[in-house]
């Protein structure tokens, strides 16, 4: 299948070609660049079909905003960017194939995307081998660990450790110490549980039980009575997308909220919009972004406005916004580096200090994790300004490397 050529040789050839192309193009760039130079291609594999489809579609919308912005700003000396969206169907095998096709057939310069703690590792595997930059826009702890990490790997999204930590620190001090988990049985769920448990250490938190369900589950009625009988102060529901909507709706139907505070690591904007207030009412969760912070934050305002303009007045979701930041960071690095050359763009990304939509962010050197804030949100039940005004931010944990797993814990030397 793969050629026997050592990786370094492939890389050299790649950079030689890229470098050669740049040199060849340079003298003519004033008048012919637009017509002759290929576009900068960003491969964007996300699970458009399946239980995370709604979130994935918003990621595409937001990524389009970043592309449009880059092109409107003149691109890379006139060279435009292009988004190649692919459906990975929430399947690691499918995602790896799509990523490989994007790199081999479509000649994608960069890969941004994925929406699953498990699927992104499959994509990362491919990009790592091919020496292509991959900026992941979904939660994962493993991707930062030395076993999966490579210099080509960037992680724009939050990590479960950071998210669950922030939500746990908030919830355990407020709602009680007896905790039960309902968890999607794959990397995302497992990493979230670990994050909550680590946050609970030293807070006297007692874990009553952790019930696992398969990803894409449609019925939780056989799991909820057992959780109810544990009589927890807090029920943490560690799942995502449609699974989260259905679990919250059915937990509400079973009357769990009468006795228990429901907490989710990520409370999804798309889910709340789709499932309505009843299911999400009273639930506390974390988020990477809520559009409503635009009143305090100019960068949020300008991102929201651009999104509104391109997408018929709608506002971006949390995961959508990460699609925007994921693409924009790469394109900004291309601009700063003045080239699409992989190594130079990596250096540019590492040096980036940016505030594109949610306040200051930067990539930590050792694991390329984007250091950023985590918000804690609740549902609004009154004083909503419009249909999208569904959450209020009750706490905001500022960007702080101390809240991430340390470089040493991840296995990095530095």
């Amino acid at each position: 299948m793969t050629s026997k050529t050592p990786r370094s040789t492939t890389l050299n050839r790649r950079s030689l070609i890229a470098g050669g192309a740049a040199i060849a193009a340079a003298p003519f760039s004033f008048h012919t660049a637009r017509a002759q130079e290929p576009t900068i291609k960003i491969g964007f594999p996300v699970p458009l079909t399946g239980p995370y489809g709604a979130e994935a579609q918003d990621q595409v919308r937001a990524a389009e905003v970043a592309i449009a912005e880059f092109n409107a700003g003149g691109g890379l000396g006139g060279r435009k960017a292009e988004l190649l969206v692919r459906d990975d169907k929430l399947n690691p095998g499918e995602a790896a194939t799509r990523a490989l096709e994007l790199i081999e057939n479509d000649k994608a310069n960069f890969i941004v995307g994925s929406l699953s703690a498990a699927v992104q590792l499959a994509i990362n595997n491919v990009t790592k081998q091919r020496g292509v930059i991959f900026n992941s826009i979904s939660q994962s702890d493993a991707i930062n660990e030395v076993a999966d990490f490579s210099k080509y790997t960037f992680h724009e999204a939050l990590t479960p450790h950071l998210t669950a930590g922030a939500v746990g620190r908030y919830a355990f001090s407020k709602f009680g110490k007896k905790v039960a988990f309902l968890t999607a049985d794959y990397a995302y769920g497992h990493e979230m549980v670990r994050g909550f448990q680590e946050a609970g250490k030293g807070m006297g938190v007692e874990v009553l039980g952790d019930i696992r369900h398969p990803i894409g589950a449609t019925d939780f009625s056989t799991l909820l009575p057992r959780l109810q009988s544990m009589k927890p102060d807090i029920l943490v529901i560690n799942n995502f997308g449609r699974d989260q909507q259905i679990a919250l709706k059915q937990a509400t139907d079973f009357g769990l909220k009468k006795t228990t505070k429901i907490v989710v690591p990520i409370m999804l904007f798309t889910g709340r919009q789709s499932a309505g207030l009843a299911a999400f009412d009273g639930v506390v969760g974390g988020t990477s972004y809520y559009w409503g912070i635009e009143d305090q934050l100019p960068s949020a305002k300008s991102f929201n406005d651009q999104f509104r303009k391109m997408h018929g007045g709608r506002v971006p979701s949390d995961y959508g916004a990460m699609g925007y930041a994921g693409v924009r960071t790469v394109l900004q690095a291309v601009k700063n580096a003045g080239t699409v050359d992989t190594d130079k763009v990596i250096t540019a990304l590492e040096g980036l200090k940016y505030d594109y939509y949610k306040g200051p962010q930067y990539f930590r050197k050792c694991d390329h994790q984007s250091v950023q804030s985590v918000m804690i949100i609740e549902c609004k039940t009154k004083d909503m300004r419009n249909e999208a005004d569904v959450f209020q931010v009750v706490a905001n944990e500022a960007p702080n490397e101390a809240n991430l797993r340390s470089c040493e814990a991840l296995g990095h030397k530095a």
Binding site: T218, S229, R242, D253, F254, G255
Partner: protein, 294 residues
Amino acid sequence: MAGLTLDLIGLQLFAGVALGAVYVLLAIGLSLIFGMLTVVNFAHGAFYMLGAYVGLWLMAHGGNFWLCLVLVPLVVGGIGLAVERVLIRPLYGRGIDYPLLLTFGLSYIIVELVRITFGKAGFPFDTPEVLQGAVDIGVGFFPLYRLFVIAATAVILFGLWLFLERTSFGLIIRAGARDPLIVRVLGVNVSKVWLIVFGMGTAIAAFAGLLAAPLQGVIPEMGGTILAEAFVVTVVGGMGSLLGAVLAGILVGVVVSMTSLFAPEMAKVAIFALMALVLLIRPQGFFGRAGLMS
């Protein structure tokens, strides 16, 4: 296991029966169609999904849930009639795999058409207001709507029983299932019977889809997994047996529920383990007649 009380087991049983109710409705249509037409209807899950979407559409256009309970089976049953008349009827007498492949392809077409019309993303489906919330059923709180699902299933089953056992048309259906040739010799228009049976089967599938919608929302793929489970139910109950479908449906629901209590990750596997066990001991299922598939 700590905290295992009789109340919890009682609640778990109820959850299992409610889950089983939807299996029963799907399996009974499958069984009816297979028993009469010897058609293995792979489009059954698609009709189930269609029921939910037609309900969604009606609700968006001013209908209410109760009206949907009547209109959805009529609309989708009508589509079922057309499918039998136009697509399936030419395949009678050509072996069991012809209609099987046809309905298999048809299910893809229906799902794709729904994706094109309504989008891939899926929709939430509100529980009717009077059926929201939980009620105390003696062993603990149980969602009112799930009790309604059990009751609605019971009503459908009772109606079906009355129709098959107490009407002359039901008599023809039962006779047609036993020996279509003799029934035809006696001057009965068998193709009309088959048409109606197929329509009824799809109508019940659509009804089941509508009932399931407030529990889990509506997506184009919702018929896929449940169809596999409904096939397990018909196999366990015995292909073609209505009583078998009812008992096996409830049994599968309870098995899933009880397995979830002790080993949640085994719940899905338990369905198929049950099927394997039943097939080993009684290859024709609980009430199936041996040799129907040959």
